[in-house]
């Protein structure tokens, strides 16, 4: 359906080859850095959330590898690289 389908279901349409090694990580000790609030708004896959302790968490499943979080938050709070070759999102249409 082109009607609203929920973000999880929408990401489920994409083809991913997951890797055990995450390619994006919040730097240790930076989880409460206010810069990370930006990622909650800008991530098109909605993968950043704030838990009850006020810490921002990142869930890699469904990452579209756009790089918006890195540009918005900066490399001081995020370790960011592309997935190892052959892994990650594989667009069929692009």
């Amino acid at each position: 359906m082109s009607e609203l389908m929920g973000l999880k279901a929408k990401l489920g349409l994409d083809v991913f080859k997951p890797n055990s090694q995450p390619h994006i990580a919040i730097k240790p000790g930076k989880e409460t850095d206010p810069k990370l609030n930006r990622a909650i708004l800008v991530c098109p896959a909605g993968l950043y959330t704030k838990n009850s302790d006020g810490k921002v968490e990142f869930n890699e499943d469904g990452c579209l590898e756009c790089g918006t979080c890195r540009i918005a938050c900066g490399s001081e709070v995020l370790d960011w690289s592309y997935p190892v070759g052959g892994y990650g999102v594989q667009y069929r249409f692009g």
């Binding site: 359906m1 082109s2 009607e3 609203l4 389908m5 973000l7 929408k10 990401l11 349409l13 994409d14 930006r38 909650i40 708004l41 800008v42 991530c43 098109p44 896959a45 909605g46 579209l64 756009c66 790089g67 918006t68 890195r70 540009i71 918005a72 900066g74 490399s75 960011w80 690289s81 592309y82 997935p83 190892v84 070759g85 052959g86 999102v89 667009y91 069929r92 249409f93 692009g94």
Partner: protein, 352 residues
């Protein structure tokens, strides 16, 4: 132009668009890129896919190869075509981390629909296509807009929004929420009705114009396409693929030149920049260098769509009682102070 409760559209069509050589095509990049890579392979290019370049190998300040998954590959010249983030050029100090104000994030759905439905809905024949752009409420007044392109048996529907505006909140709205709200707007819902979303993707676009270009060359390295910042938004069109292709072509010309003297230092490779400057790539970026500044004006994305929407609403309304004169309807929306703002905004737009 999309306001909260209404919208106003203009459209352009012309015989020039129907005459070969055609000016624009809509392509699905996964298909196009695969085809394009095959063309390169046919003329002898060796393609190594599924291998991530981890870093560039630097020796005495000169780039001499790449490191990928433990393997090392030597080269006279590296062409950094590693996309908008260009982490590779950043690692060797050729560029600094991206500034949010020079970048936008685009996210889109591929929506499958029968070809006949697309043709009927958009009034198309043969291989014709349509492009629609939306501005205003689609980004909640933030810098950017919505887009819809027709393909043969699917639509590309999405939003591009400036990262700086999106991350600052005010109003705080997430990218996925913008997309959902866009899809249920009557203006859009009617166009995608009955379609089936089959893919959701996202990509960052460099939109900072000439001032945001990265360093184009160094010792043993050239930077092309998105990695160099070569995409351009002038409001009515957003272009990038042709600049990427052309910069790759000029990079190849520069490398051929460097091979003549077997000198791959920046002194020789700077011919890349000279070639670009003589081409439409640099000329376009120079002509439109004021566009990012002129367009970075919240009034275009909130005030004007609302103003035009309200004027049109009054003009087209059939009231139960007596109707205002047309100019009275216009004046109701535009007072003297507003006129001054419009003139000031127009002055900036006239620099584009």
């Amino acid at each position: 132009m999309m306001a909260g409760d209404n919208s106003f559209s203009t459209s352009y069509t012309g015989s020039d668009l129907r005459q070969a050589p055609y000016q624009s095509y809509s392509v699905l990049r996964s298909k196009f890129d695969r085809w394009f890579a095959q063309q390169a392979e046919k003329v002898g290019v060796m393609l190594v896919t599924k291998s991530r370049v981890d870093e560039l190998i630097k020796e005495d300040g000169k780039i001499i190869g790449v490191r990928a998954g433990g393997d090392e590959l030597g080269a006279d010249v590296i062409v950094a075509a590693d996309g908008v983030l260009s982490l590779l050029s950043e690692k060797v100090g050729l560029s600094v981390p991206a500034n949010p104000e020079n970048y936008a994030v685009g996210f889109k759905e591929i929506i499958e629909l029968d070809r006949s439905v697309i043709e009927n809905r958009f009034g198309l024949e043969g291989n014709e296509g349509a492009a629609r752009l939306f501005m205003g409420e689609v980004t909640r007044g933030k810098f950017g807009g919505g887009f819809l392109y027709t393909n043969q048996s699917c639509l590309s529907l999405g939003i591009v929004v400036g990262i700086k505006d999106l991350m600052q909140g005010d109003p705080g709205v997430s990218a996925p929420q913008l997309m959902d709200d866009f899809k249920v707007r009557t203006e859009v819902a009617n166009l995608i009705k009955g379609g089936q979303t089959v893919e959701y993707s996202a990509h960052v676009i460099p939109e900072g114009g000439l001032k945001a270009w990265r360093t184009l060359y160094g010792d043993g390295i050239l930077v092309v396409g998105d990695a160099a910042g070569m995409a351009m938004n002038i409001g009515v069109t957003v272009r990038g693929m042709e600049y990427a292709l052309a910069s790759g072509y000029y990079a190849a010309q520069a490398i051929l030149k460097a091979r003549e003297s077997k000198d791959f230092s920046r002194n020789t490779l700077k011919v890349y920049q000279e070639l670009l400057e003589k081409s439409f790539v640099y000329k376009d970026f120079k002509s439109f260098q004021e566009a990012p500044k002129a367009l970075d004006n919240p009034r275009f994305f909130n005030r004007y769509p609302e103003m035009v929407g309200s004027i049109m609403q009054d003009i087209y309304t059939i009231p139960a009682g007596p109707k205002d004169k047309l100019m009275t309807s216009v004046k109701k929306q535009i007072n003297f102070k507003e006129i001054l703002s419009i003139v000031s905004d127009m002055r900036k737009v006239m620099k584009i």
